[in-house]
Amino acid sequence: MYGILLAGAMAFMLLDAVRILPSEPSGLTGVVDSQMANSGVEHPVTAVLLNFRGYDTWLELGVLLLAVMGVLLFQPGTDLARVQPLARSDAVLRLATSLLLPLAVLVAGYLLWIGKYAAGGAFQAGVVLGAALILLWLSGNATLVILPPHGFRLILVLGFCAFMAVAVGLLIAGQGWLELPPSQAGSLILFIEACATLSIAWTMAALIIGLQPPVSGKQEGGP
C-alpha cells in the first residue's frame, strides 16, 4: 500500500518536472547538420554514432565485452565447449530455421550497408545476426559450441579491437584522437561497423548460450 503511495508521489513529481520543461526547443541538429559533409556517411545517426561520438560507441563495445565475459565466468571453463547442444527439435522448427537463417543473414548485411544512407548500422545488423545464431542453436544445431575457443574469443573482441586499431592508426598518422579524415571516413566507418556487427552478434548469442548449464561429464574433470 505504502509502495503505491511512494510510486504515486514519484510519478507526480516526475510528471510535473516534464510539464515545466522549457518550451523553446534546443538540440544539436544544427551542429550535426553543419558537419555532415565531413562525416563520410549520409545518415546523421550513423555519423554521430561512429564519427562524432565514436569514443562513446567504442567504450560501449567494451561494456558489451565485459558483460559477455561476466556471463562466461559463471560456469567453469571460459569457452562454450562445455555447453550441451540442445536435443534435435521438431521438423517444423528445423524447416523454419533453414528458411529464416539465410534471410536473416541477408537482412543483417543489408542493414549494415544501408546504415550509410538511412536507418540501419552495426547495432541493428548485429542484433539481427545474433537472433539468427540463437535460432540456429534453439533448433538443435551446435553453432557456437563447436567453434574453437580461440576463434570464438577472437570474434568477441573483434569490434573493440578494430575500433582501437583505427584509433591508434589515426594517432600514428598524425590525426587527432578518433578524428576520422573526411576522405577516408566512409570506408573506415564501414570497416569498424563490419567488425562490430560480428562482435555484437556473437556477444548476443554467447549471452544466451553461455547461461546454459555445463555438460555434466565435463564438469567433474575440471579444476
Binding site: 514519484m10 516534464v18 526547443p25 541538429t29 545517426v45 562513446d56 541493428q124 549471452l207
Partner: protein, 101 residues
C-alpha cells in the same frame, strides 16, 4: 498537449511503475523486468525530447545514444539474469528478502 509531451509523460509513468516493481516485487526476474521498464521510461523521455526540435528532423544525438543504450541494456540484463540463476542454483531462493534457508 503535444505528442512529445504525451510520450514523455508516459515515459515518466512507466519509470514510476518500474520503480515500484524494483522495490516491492519479490521475485528477482520480475525485478529485472521492472528495471527494464524503468529504463524504457527514460528512453521514451529522451526520444520525446529529441523530437521537440526546431528542425523538422529529430535530434540525432539522443538517437545514437539510445541505439547503443538498448544493446547495452540487454547485455546488462543477461548478466544480471546469469547472476540470478547462479544465486538460485546455490541458495534455492527466487527472491532477495534475506531470510535464508
Amino acid at each position: 498537449m503535444t505528442q512529445e509531451l504525451a510520450y514523455s509523460m508516459t515515459g515518466m509513468l512507466l519509470f514510476s511503475i518500474g520503480l515500484f516493481g524494483v522495490f516491492f516485487v519479490p521475485h528477482i526476474l520480475r525485478r529485472l523486468m521492472a528495471m527494464n521498464v524503468m529504463a524504457v521510461g527514460v528512453f521514451l523521455l529522451l526520444i520525446a525530447v529529441a523530437k521537440r526540435n526546431a528542425d523538422p528532423n529529430p535530434d540525432p544525438v539522443p538517437h545514437a545514444m539510445l541505439l547503443t543504450g538498448i544493446v547495452v541494456a540487454i547485455s546488462a540484463t543477461a548478466f544480471a539474469v546469469g547472476l540470478a540463476r547462479k544465486f538460485h542454483e546455490v541458495s534455492g531462493e527466487t527472491d532477495l528478502d534475506g531470510e535464508g534457508p
